[in-house]
C-alpha cells in the first residue's frame, strides 16, 4: 500500500517537475537561440551545442528551452487567467446567485458549442497570427467552456445536503460559495485545466507548424518542427528534439490531469 502511494505521488511530482523545467529552462540556455552562424550548420551534439545545431547554425537545445518558455508561457498564462476569471464569473452567474435567468443558459450553451480550435481559427482569420492573438483566442475559448463547467458543477453542489446544513446554520451565500463549494470543485477544475493545457499545446504547435504561427520574433516548437522537416532527409535526428518536447509536455499534462482526480476519488 505504501509503495503504491509513493508511486502515485511520484507520478504527480515528475510531470510537474518536467513542466516547470520546460517553463523556466530558458534561463539556463547555453546559447542565444536567435544567433545564427552559417559556419556551424548541422553540427553533431557536442559540449557547446548539447543537441547540435540547425540549418542556420542555431543551438537546438537553447531553442527548445526558449520554445518551451513561449509555448508553456502562453498555455499556463492562459490557464491562470481562465482559472481566476472563470471561477469568479462561473460562480457569479450560477443559478444560486442569479435565479431563474434562462437566457444565460442558452447563451453559454450557444457559445460553447464551438470548440476552442475553431475559435482559434476565427481569431487568426481576423487578426492574423501572432503570440498575443493565440493567447487571447485560447483564453477566450477555454474560459467559456470553463464557465460552463463551473456553473453546472456549482448548481449540482448547491443541491447537496451539506449546503443545506450550511444555509441552516446561517452561512451567507458568499461564504457557502467560497468556503464550502469551491474546495469540492477544485479537483474538477484542475483536471479540466490540465487537459485543456495539453490540447492547447497541440493546437499551438499544429498551427505554427502550418505557418499560422506565433510570428518570427519568437522561438516555438511548431516552427522548429517545420524547419527540421525541411532537412529531414539529411538530418533525420533534428526533428526528434522539438517533437519530443511537444510529446513530453503534453504527456505530462495528460498524466497530471488524470492523476490529480484519481487521488481525490480514492
Amino acid at each position: 500500500m505504501k509503495k503504491r502511494r509513493e508511486a502515485h505521488n511520484l507520478s504527480i511530482i515528475i510531470p510537474m517537475l518536467v513542466i516547470v523545467l520546460f517553463l523556466i529552462g530558458y534561463l539556463f540556455a547555453p546559447n542565444n537561440p536567435m544567433e545564427s552562424n552559417l559556419l556551424t550548420r548541422f553540427q553533431k551534439p557536442c559540449t557547446t551545442y548539447p543537441f547540435g545545431t540547425d540549418q542556420l547554425g542555431r543551438c537546438i537545445f537553447s531553442r527548445i528551452l526558449y520554445g518551451g518558455w513561449t509555448t508553456l508561457g502562453i498555455v499556463l498564462g492562459g490557464s491562470m487567467i481562465v482559472f481566476s476569471l472563470g471561477t469568479i464569473i462561473g460562480m457569479a452567474t450560477s443559478r444560486a446567485v442569479l435565479k431563474g435567468i434562462t437566457l444565460i443558459d442558452g447563451l453559454i450553451n450557444a457559445v460553447t458549442a464551438i470548440p476552442p480550435i475553431a475559435y482559434l481559427i476565427v481569431f487568426i482569420g481576423a487578426w492574423g497570427s501572432g503570440a498575443k492573438t493565440t493567447l487571447f483566442a485560447l483564453t477566450v475559448s477555454y474560459i467559456l467552456r470553463y464557465i460552463k463547467l463551473v456553473r453546472t458543477r456549482t448548481d449540482m453542489e448547491m443541491g447537496k445536503a451539506y449546503v443545506m446544513c450550511a444555509v441552516a446554520s446561517g452561512a451567507s451565500k458568499l461564504r457557502i460559495l467560497i468556503i464550502h463549494i469551491l474546495p469540492n470543485l477544485i479537483a474538477e477544475m484542475i483536471r479540466f485545466l490540465c487537459l485543456s493545457c495539453a490540447d492547447m499545446i497541440l493546437a499551438i504547435t499544429a498551427f505554427s507548424f502550418i505557418g499560422l504561427g506565433l510570428g518570427d520574433s519568437v522561438v516555438d516548437w511548431g516552427s522548429m518542427i517545420l524547419d527540421a522537416r525541411g532537412a529531414l532527409v539529411l538530418h533525420p535526428i533534428m526533428i526528434l528534439y522539438p517533437i519530443g518536447a511537444v510529446i513530453l509536455s503534453t504527456l505530462c499534462f495528460n498524466i497530471l490531469g488524470r492523476r490529480l482526480t484519481e487521488k481525490e476519488a480514492t
Binding site: 442558452g106 499560422l212 522537416r229 503534453t250
Partner: protein, 313 residues
Amino acid sequence: MRQDMKKYILKKLIELLFTLFFVTMLSFLLMRLSSVDPATAYAKRMIGSPTIEQIEAIRIQLGFDKPLLIQYGRWVIDLLHFNLGTSLANGHEVWTDIATAFPKTLGIVSLASVFQIIAIVVMGCTVFLLPWKTPKNVLKIICILGVSIPSFYLATVYLDFFAVKKSLISVTGNTSFLSYISPALCIGVFGASFYIPLLMDALEHESNEDYAFYARCRGLSESRLLFFHFLPRAAVGLIPNFLQSIGLALANATVIEQIFSIPGFGYLIVNHVLDRDTPMIHAEVFFLALAIALCNIAADLIQWAIQRKKVVV
C-alpha cells in the same frame, strides 16, 4: 411525446441561431478591430502602391466604410439569398469554392469516424475478453501516448514513410476518394486513443452491474454478454460524446489537410487567412460553425432520447 420532442428540437434550433449569430458577429467584430485594414490589403494586391484616394474608393466600393452593423446586416441578407459574394483574392465565387471544398473535408472526417469506431470497438472488446490484466494496462498507456502525439506529426511521419520512402501513395493531386484514407487515419488516431479507455471503463462498469451477475448465473457466455448486453449499453453512453468529437475533428482537419495538400475546407481557410480575404473568411467561419453546431445538436438529441427512454423504462 411528439409535442415534447418538437419543443426540444425548437429550443435547440434557437440555440443554433444564437451560436451562428455569435460566431459570425465575432468574426466581423474581430475583422474590424484588426490592425490590417482589408481595403488597404485589397488595394495593395490590386494596384501595388495605391494612393489614399484609391484606397478610399475601394473601401466605398466594397462597403467597408459603412458601420459594422450595416455591413453585418447586408451580409446576413446576402446569405439568406445564398449569395456570399466573390473572393477578394482570386475573384472566385465564394459559394462555389466552398461547395467544392467542403465535401472533401466531410469525406475525410466521416471516414476518420468510421476508422475510429472500428478501432474503438475492436480494441475495447478484445481487451475486455482477454483474461489477463497486462494487455489492458499496455493499451491504456498506448492510448495516453496517442492522445499526446500531435496528429500533424503523425501525418508528416506517415507521408515521409509511405510517400517518400516507399512511394506507395502520391503526394500531389489528392482528390480521389482513396486519397482520403491517409489523412483519415492520421485524424482517427487521436479520437480512437481518446475513446478506447472510455469504452474500456464503461464495459468494466457494466460487467459489475447486478444484471451481469444474474446473466452469468444463467450460464450465458462472456462473449454473448459482451455483444448483447455490455457493448450496447456502454455505447449508448459514449455516442453523444463521440458525435461532438466529430465536430471537433472538422476543425482539426484543417491542419491535416494542409499537410496532405488536400484542397479541402481547412486548406481554404488557411490560404484566405494569409490573404486577409474578408468575404471568404466570414463564409468559412459560418460554415464551420454550422457544421460543428449541427453535430452538437445531433449529439444532444440522441442524449435526450436516451434519457427519456431510461425514465420511461
